[in-house]
């Protein structure tokens, strides 16, 4: 049974830190088991709570000390139990899985990040990567929207993104609920406001599917083409390794062929209702 080993077996990881991000959203920093490979930006892990079940969660950071962060929204029966875990608890992990963001192809180009709600989590490692390799990339534009200011993730570092050299950060909320200097409306409204050079930009999008579809339409308007647009999809990634079938979108196993896809590649299916 050695082939199953490392594929469907969760290995223990220790929770080293827990950060409350937003209502119902917490980030867990995990000390990964030995032999766990460093995840690339955009990849995900299967997190497992003993006897409860497993859930695919994007990597939202890898710290200098090698802790791997997962930002989890309480939404289902596994995340509900996971949310109650605290420092010192042990959960199971397996991964990293999937294809991540095109950080190599983006070298020498401008990078445009468009994120909605929890969708910023898988893009945070991209921001980190650019910050650490600043000279290799052109302008970084971050457009981020959430339901309300209190739902924005990583509030303690969000403003700092703006001070990364040659970076533009624009925020948007659906409802201000109090003092708010940013935009009120859709995150897609920020696209025409941002300074985007369509000739040299790679766009990376993550959020609800409807938001991603609107974003793509807006990006067309400012002159981006399909092969400059990348998006990360959510599906029911049960096994994570292309065995169980649940995450199919058209002919693609999102867990294995994605979750990040170039838009031209999936366009034929992505716009079809309930594909």
């Amino acid at each position: 049974m050695e082939v199953v080993e490392g594929r469907l077996i969760p290995k223990p990881a220790v929770i080293e830190d827990v950060v409350d991000e937003a209502p119902n959203v917490r980030t867990f920093y995990l000390r990964m088991p030995e032999g766990y490979p460093e995840p690339k930006p955009g990849q995900f892990n299967e997190l497992y709570v003993m006897g409860v079940g497993e859930v695919p969660i994007s990597v939202s950071d890898v710290t200098q000390e090698g802790l791997v962060a997962h930002t989890v929204r309480v939404a289902g029966r596994v995340t509900e139990v996971l949310a109650e875990a605290s420092v010192g608890d042990v959960i199971g992990v397996r991964g990293p899985y999937g294809r991540g963001w095109p950080i190599e192809q983006a070298v020498g180009k401008d990078v445009l990040i468009v994120a909605g709600g929890i969708g910023l989590a898988p893009l945070r490692p991209v921001i980190r990567h650019i910050e650490r390799n600043r000279a290799k990339y052109g302008k970084l534009t971050i457009l981020y929207g959430a339901r309300a200011p209190r739902h924005l993730l990583y509030k303690y570092e969000l403003e700092k993104y703006a001070s990364i050299p040659n970076t533009e950060l624009l925020l948007s909320v659906d409802k201000a609920e109090g003092p708010w200097e940013g935009h009120v409306g859709f995150v897609t409204d920020l696209i025409p406001k941002a300074d985007i050079d369509p000739e040299r930009t790679i766009a990376m999008i993550c959020g609800p599917e409807i938001m991603m579809r609107f974003t793509i339409k807006r990006l067309y308007e400012v002159g981006l083409k399909d092969n400059q647009i990348y998006l990360s999809l959510e599906r029911r990634m049960r096994c994570g390794v292309g065995l169980c079938g649940h995450c199919q979108m058209g002919p693609y196993f999102v867990c294995k062929h994605g979750p990040v896809f170039p838009h031209w590649f999936i366009k034929k299916y992505f716009w079809v209702e309930q594909i």
């Binding site: 709570v49 003993m50 006897g51 409860v52 079940g53 029966r77 596994v78 509900e80 139990v81 109650e84």
Partner: protein, 261 residues
């Protein structure tokens, strides 16, 4: 993740006690369970009772009288997790057959002094009176599902039991489809899994004691049954049996009977 002992209560309403017996039938498992679970109110098992609040309350039976309505409301207030257990509690049960008749007629047919019987107009599933957190279906409930449910509560997770059509489970088990091979009407395609496909295993059609599956399409099955030669009246009867008062089956029954009239 095991915490303090789980306080469990079992209450009986209009029912035959068969579901409660399934708890007692867990025998071996029950012994291991008693380390983690304490039955604080379970008259079928012990006269000794303790007052609420309860962590988990299993309700057996339908709500058929005004007193029961009153009691189940009180039980709800005392229960953290309320579970409707069995066909009576989840769909009104076999006694819900009277829901299609006039209560006075039924009373007169059964009792010498019908005026003594105080009953509600309908035999109701628990969810028609109070909020139900989970349903364990079946007549009786499956003890495997009961045990799985309790274990899941013990690890602190929201219990999850698959609710797809029985056909999947039946065919996984290796049964031959009785509808295709024998022309026997079977409710399996629209009934929730969980029983282990007992009836089809013995060459009978499913009569639906687990009630409608998630996203069930009884109207499509009804058309097919008519297509293979069943009369409207017989299709309606098949659906009526054990869980006919469930919303989805009731709709089909009403359409079939309305059509016949």
């Amino acid at each position: 993740m095991m915490r303090r002992k789980l306080k469990v209560a079992v209450f009986k309403f209009a029912s035959c006690s068969g579901c409660q017996l399934q708890i007692l039938n867990m025998e071996d498992e029950l012994l291991t369970l008693t380390d983690a679970v304490e039955f604080t109110y379970f008259l079928e098992a012990s006269r000794a009772t303790a007052p609420g609040p309860y962590d988990v309350t299993f309700i057996e039976g339908s709500i058929s009288t005004p007193e029961q309505e009153e009691l189940v409301r009180r039980v709800r207030e005392e229960s953290r997790i309320l579970v409707a257990m069995g066909a009576c509690a989840t769909a009104g049960g076999i006694q819900a057959l009277r829901n299609w008749l006039r209560l006075d007629d039924v009373k007169r047919a059964v009792y010498p002094n019908p005026e003594w019987v105080k009953a509600l107009e309908h035999s109701k599933p628990v969810a028609e009176v109070v909020k139900v957190d989970y349903e364990l279906r079946g007549c009786p409930v499956s003890k495997e599902r009961l045990l799985s449910f309790i274990k899941q509560v013990l690890v602190g997770r929201k219990p999850y039991l698959r609710r797809e059509a029985l056909c999947m489970d039946c065919r996984r088990k290796g049964n031959v489809c009785v509808m295709v091979a024998k022309g026997i009407p079977c409710l399996g395609p629209v009934v929730q899994e969980g029983c282990g496909a007992i009836c089809p295993t013995f060459g009978r059609g499913c009569y639906g004691c687990f009630g409608p599956s998630i996203d069930a399409r009884p109207e499509a099955l009804a058309s097919r049954l008519r297509e293979i030669g069943m009369k409207d009246r017989d299709v309606a009867r098949l659906f009526k049996g054990f869980t006919g008062w469930s919303e989805k089956f009731r709709k089909v029954i009403d359409e079939l009977e309305g059509g016949a009239r």
